[in-house]
Amino acid sequence: MEAFYDNEFAEDAPPVVHFENVGVRYGMGPEVLRDLTFSIEPHSFQFLTGPSGAGKTTLLRLILLAVRPTRGLISLFGEDVSGISKNALTDVRRRMGVVFQDFRLLDHLTTYENVALPLRVQGKEEASYRAEVVELLRWVGLGDRMHVLPPVLSGGEKQRAAIARALIVRPDLLLADEPTGNVDPSLARRLLRLFIELNRLGTSVVIATHDFSLMDQLDVRRLVLGDGRLHIDE
């Protein structure tokens, strides 16, 4: 595994994510994911891959605690989350940035308001983040689209807005579900460089993708899902 961030204290820190024999099933159906045991170390970079329907999104939702495991143990930032309180869950989610496959931008808010949302829900004053949000929007090429509502944005623009929203809080863990699925190869490379840069600044990055051309650009750990099980290519 290649980590772009070289931190001498990184080895002492607990894993950002640790799964121990985790399984999940929906209702009375079969287990869609089973016996997942892996860790995501601080400041690490990895791809999560596998064929469509392999459970990449479900695994990301498990990390987000949007889906609870039917068995096994999950620890986030060194804390067992099996009995996590609502307040603690909010604190954990504030340390994560998420890029959803379907973007999940709020259609009644402008691009600027969507990107600033994680800071706004933390109760921060707009004056404290306005310049930074505008700067990030300009960097992802949405400087002149900041007052536009998402329904007017193209797929690529929505994706960049979703990425900017995930990055604005400089999270400890970034989860990105097919973040380059709707952009051209040039912009995909640029976005990948953005994730690498974020990783250099200390963020652990998990990118779920089945785009081999994207993965081939980086020699990093690959978490491969297939038949409900996880295989790790170091």
Partner: protein
């Protein structure tokens, strides 16, 4: 320098066009939870109607309360002595004696003895005109007006009348005042209960509307959770939106109720000279609710808005707790 850190630090090295100062706010203060949908507008209309009804109930109760106070004070300030004719006695002497006794009673400000002709005229509405009253034993009335705030003890006067003037009786209207009080208090009580029921109905309407808004905005609530919003933050957002919605609806309802009251006041004043207007005025006094009535209507509007906000917040908290 790397791209992101360059981007983050680029304020100093940005092109000239990017250096222009940013406006004070780029936010439009758009609500995070959009409740101004058709459902929201319907809720505002329901709240307006409920507030209108509650304000009318409260205004009516206030009107009855102030009118009954006026009736009771008018009636309580008058006492009547009735002297029935007695063939063995001179009724004029009895009237004069009764007036003299009444004037000796502390608290009596003025006495007014009705003459025979005046007493007979009082019967005309029931018996008609042109009747010979000489054959009828028409009683004579003496009206005693009491001093303001005086509460005279009529025991001695009643005893003196009984001893000295057979056939004389004193009526201090206590029974009538008591019945009037009971009736007025009942009407006020019913008004208060109606206002409470309307407020309860408003609360229930808000509960259903909030649950509908939560279900309709499930996606928004999920996203807010994922970007780090706490349940309390989300509940506050819903409360803020529903409070504004409730305030808008309740102000419209209260405004309509006040406009109706003012209009009815004008109409009844223009009818004052007519018999119907006189009857209405006799019942309700002038059709005006006074500053206390206006204050009650505005308080109801504020209470409805507050209930809307608080109920929506509690509903959201319960919904979020119930849905993990």
């Amino acid at each position: 320098m790397s791209e992101l850190s360059h981007a983050r630090a680029s304020r100093s090295s940005a092109p000239e066009g990017d250096k222009r100062p940013l406006p004070a706010s780029l936010r439009r203060n758009a609500p995070l939870v959009p409740v101004d949908s058709a459902g929201g507008q319907a809720l505002a209309a329901v709240i307006a109607i409920l507030t209108f009804l509650a304000a009318l109930c409260a205004g009516g109760a206030e009107l009855v309360a102030s009118s009954s106070t006026q009736w009771r004070s008018d009636i309580a300030r008058e006492v009547t002595i009735q002297i029935r004719p007695n063939p063995q006695r001179s009724i004029e002497d009895d009237v004069a004696r009764a007036v003299a006794l009444a004037r000796q009673t502390p608290g009596v400000e003025e006495t007014q003895a009705f003459s025979k002709a005046e007493s007979e005229r009082l019967l005309e509405p029931w018996l008609g005109t042109g009747l010979d009253f000489n054959d009828l034993p028409v009683p004579r009335l003496i009206v005693l007006k009491l001093q303001a705030e005086a509460k005279p003890d009529f025991t001695k006067l009643r005893q003196a009348l009984r001893d000295q003037i057979p056939g004389a009786s004193l009526d201090d209207h206590a029974l009538w005042v008591s019945r009037l009080s009971t009736m007025a208090n009942t009407i006020i009580g019913v008004g208060v209960i109606l206002v409470a029921l309307v407020l309860l109905a408003a609360g229930l309407a808000v509960t259903f509307a909030t649950r509908g808004a939560m279900a309709g905005n499930r996606e928004v609530v999920d996203v807010l959770h994922f970007v780090g919003a706490s349940d309390d933050f989300i509940a506050r957002e819903f409360q803020r939106r529903f409070f504004k919605l409730g305030l808008r609806g309740s102000m419209v309802g209260a405004g309509a109720a006040l406009a109706m009251t003012v209009t009815l006041g004008f109409v009844t004043r223009s009818w004052r000279a007519s018999p119907a207007g006189d009857q209405l005025e006799a019942l309700f006094g002038s059709f005006s609710i006074g500053w206390r009535g206006y204050a009650v209507v505005i308080l109801i509007a504020l209470a409805v808005a507050l209930i809307t906000g608080i109920v929506s917040r509690l509903t959201v908290r319960r919904f979020l707790n119930g849905n993990g």
